[in-house]
Symmetry: C2
Subunit: 387 residues, 2 copies
C-alpha cells in the first residue's frame, strides 16, 4: 500500500498543496481547474476591496445586494447570512415558540440536520413528511418548512409545493422554503417558479451551490418577517459579514441560468464522449465520476500489471491529473478518510471554462500515464508524495 | 436647518459616498483616511484570493491561523468565528446546561447583551458582578465569564482577574474570557498577561478592535473545550468563513504591539498639538473628538457670524474634512440618527499612517474653510449635498 494510513494521506495532501501553490504563485491560475465542486467563489476587484475596507463600503454592498438578491429570489427584502444553517437558526429563533409544532415537507428523507437541531434548541416539536397523502397540519403549528431540492438534487414536484403552501395559507401559518440548490435547480433547469412567487413567506438559498459565490446563505421574504429574522441574526452573530456579501453580490451579478443549463447538458455530452473510450464513468447531478472499483476495472480492462492497491490507483490517478493537467479532484487534496471516488464537477467556474474535448484529452492522457506506471510501485510513490 | 430630517441625512450620506467612490475609483486610495474606527480590515493579495477559491485554500488558511492565533492569544487550539457574539453563543450552547448558573464578572456594568441573550436561549440563570467583594460562586454553576475590557476600554485589574479565576478553579468551573479589545489593550498597553496564561480555559477577541482585521471573533482555549465549542459552531453556522479567516490571518501577521503603543501615545501628543490652536477637542480611548457643542463654541470663539444650526456645523465640517482633505469621519457618512460628534481614531490603519502635523494641518485647513462659509447658508448646503 502506498497510501496506507492517515499520515500517508496527509503527506499526499501536502504534496498536492505544494503543486497547487506552484500553479498559483509561479505558473498560471488559468492552467488550474478546480473540479471538486466544493470550493467557494470569491469574486472581488481590488477597488471593491478598497471600498469594502472603508466605513461606507459594507453599506454600499448591502444596498446593492437588495437589488440583485431580489432579481435572483424575488421577495420584498433580502438578508445575507453566514451560512444556510445560520439562516435556518435565525428563522426558527424568530418565528417558533417553545412547545409549538414545526412541520417539514421534503422530496425525500433525510432532512438536513440543521432544521431539527434548531427546533430542539427552542424546544419545539418537529414533524416531517415526504408523502403528501400523510401530510397534515397539526394545531399549534408555528412554521411550515419546505425543502425545494435535496443534497442529491432531488426536487419537489411543483404541484406538491403548491399543495403544501395552500394548506399552510388556510391555516395562516408562515412557510419557509429551504431552497439551498433549488432556487437555481428548480427554476432554471426544471422551469418551476421561484419559491416566493409560489407563495413562500421566507426563502433561503446557498450561494455556493450551483453558483459561483462564497459559502453562505441568502434569504428573501416579506419585509415584516425578514425584519424579525434579521433582529435575531444580528443579536446572535448569524449574519454574513461584508466581504462575504461583496462576493455574494458579484456571484449574483455573474449568475447566468444559461451556464447552468449548459453544465447540465454538458454532462450528458461528456458521458457519451467518455463512453467512446471508458466503460466505468458514471453521471453525477452536475458532472461525472469514477469510483475506486470503476477505476480498477478500467485499468484491468487494459490488461495491465497492477502492483498497487485499488484505492492507491485513485490517489495516483488524481495526482497525475493534478500534476500533469492541472485538474483538482478530491482524492488528491482530501483529508484522511474522505472518499477516493474521483468526481469531475462541470458546473464549477473552472468546469464551465473547460472545453469538453480538452478535458477528455486531459483525462485520457492522465489515464495513459497511469497505465504506464501502475506496475512500478516506486514510481507511483514518487507521484503521490514528491511533487 | 440644512440637515433637518432623515431624508436630508441620507442625501448627505449619498454625497459623502460619491466623494469616497471618486477617491477610490478615480483618484488614489492613499489620499483617503478612514478615521471612523468602525471599518473592518480586509488584507489579501490576489494570489491569496486565487488560492482561497480552490478546494484547498480554506484549509491552508485554517492551518496557518492556528499558528498566528496562538502567537496572539496563546492556548492549545484556535477557532475563528463569525462574530464575537456567535463565539459567545457557541460557547454557551456547548458548556451551559438548562437551569444551571452562569456568573459574569466585569470591570463595570452594563454587560454586553449577547451574553445574557445566549443564557436566556438555553434557559440558564445569569448573574453579574462588578464588585469583587460581592462576587461569589453559586452551586450548580456551569460557566464563569470574565470581561477583560469594556467597550469604553475600561480594563479589569489583573489581581481581580486572578482572584476570579482562582475561585473558579477551586470550584472546578471553566472560565471564559470575553477579551474583545482586551486581548490587545490589557496586554500591550497595560502589560497584563494574556487571558489564557492567567488561567482562562476559553478566550475570545474581536479581530476588528485595535487591530486591522475584519469583523469577527477569534477564540482560543484548551483543545477539549475548543473542540466542544467548534461542534456547536459548525452545527449552527457560527464559524468564520474562509475569506474572513484569510483576512484575520493577515491582520494577525501584521499586528504589532508597537503600533498600538504609538497610537496611544500619539493621542497624547495630538491633543497637545490641537490645544495650541483649539480649546474644545477631547481625548477618546484611541484618538480625539470634538462634540457638536464643542465645535459650536470653537466657531463662536472666532467671532464668526453663524447662519446654520449647531448640528449642521458638524455635518458641514465633516464634509469639508472629507472633500478637501480625504478624512472620513462618522457625521459625513452616518445613517440617520447617528451622533454628530466628530471622532478621529488614530489606532486605525489609515490613522497610523498619518503624520500628526499633516493631520493637524488638515484639521486647521478644514476649520478655516468652515469659518469662511458658516455665514453663507447656500454655500453650506452646496458642501453638504453636492459633491
Amino acid at each position: 500500500m502506498i497510501v496506507d494510513n492517515s499520515l500517508d494521506e496527509l503527506k499526499k495532501r501536502e504534496n498536492a498543496l505544494t503543486i497547487i501553490k506552484h500553479f498559483i504563485f509561479n505558473k498560471n491560475r488559468n492552467a488550474l481547474f478546480d473540479l471538486t465542486g466544493l470550493s467557494g467563489g470569491f469574486i472581488a476587484t481590488d477597488q471593491e476591496i478598497n471600498l469594502l475596507e472603508t466605513y461606507i463600503g459594507p453599506a454600499v454592498f448591502e444596498e446593492e445586494i437588495q437589488k440583485y438578491g431580489k432579481i435572483h429570489l424575488c421577495g420584498e427584502k433580502i438578508l445575507p447570512v453566514n451560512r444556510t444553517s445560520s439562516g435556518i437558526l435565525a428563522t426558527i429563533l424568530a418565528l417558533v415558540e417553545e412547545d409549538s409544532n414545526v412541520i417539514h415537507f421534503l422530496p425525500e428523507f433525510p432532512a438536513h440536520p440543521s432544521i431539527i437541531r434548531a427546533c430542539n434548541l427552542v424546544n419545539a416539536n418537529y414533524f416531517e413528511f415526504d408523502n403528501i397523502n400523510k401530510f397534515h397540519i397539526l394545531e399549534n403549528t408555528s412554521l411550515i418548512i419546505i425543502t425545494g431540492s435535496t443534497m442529491d438534487h432531488k426536487i419537489l414536484d411543483e404541484n406538491l409545493f403548491k399543495e403544501v403552501i395552500s394548506q399552510a395559507k388556510n391555516h395562516n401559518i408562515p412557510v419557509f422554503v429551504d431552497d439551498a440548490s433549488g432556487a437555481r435547480l428548480r427554476t432554471t433547469i426544471f422551469n418551476q417558479e421561484k419559491a416566493f412567487d409560489l407563495g413562500a413567506d421566507l426563502v433561503i438559498t446557498s450561494t455556493d451551490k450551483l453558483m459561483n459565490g462564497p459559502r453562505g446563505g441568502l434569504m428573501t421574504g416579506t419585509k415584516d418577517l425578514i425584519d424579525m429574522v434579521k433582529v435575531k441574526a444580528n443579536q446572535f452573530g448569524l449574519e454574513a459579514q461584508p466581504p462575504i456579501i461583496l462576493a455574494m453580490l458579484n456571484a449574483l451579478k455573474e449568475y447566468d441560468g444559461e451556464d447552468l443549463i449548459n453544465a447540465f447538458s454538458k454532462k450528458e455530452d461528456f458521458i457519451k464522449l467518455l463512453e467512446t473510450k471508458f466503460t466505468n464513468f458514471q453521471k453525477t447531478p452536475t458532472g461525472v465520476m469514477i469510483s475506486v472499483e470503476g477505476l480498477y476495472n478500467e485499468v484491468k480492462r487494459n490488461n495491465t500489471n497492477i502492483s498497487v492497491s485499488k484505492k492507491d490507483l485513485s490517489f495516483i490517478y488524481s495526482m497525475i491529473l493534478l500534476k500533469n493537467e492541472g485538474i483538482i479532484t478530491i482524492p488528491a487534496v482530501s483529508m484522511p478518510g474522505a472518499s477516493a471516488t474521483i468526481r469531475f464537477d462541470l458546473s464549477t467556474n473552472d468546469g464551465k471554462k473547460l472545453d469538453l474535448e480538452v478535458l477528455f484529452n486531459k483525462i485520457i492522457n492522465s489515464f495513459n500515464e497511469l497505465l504506464n506506471v501502475v506496475d512500478n510501485e516506486e514510481k507511483c510513490k514518487e507521484i503521490v508524495f514528491n511533487n
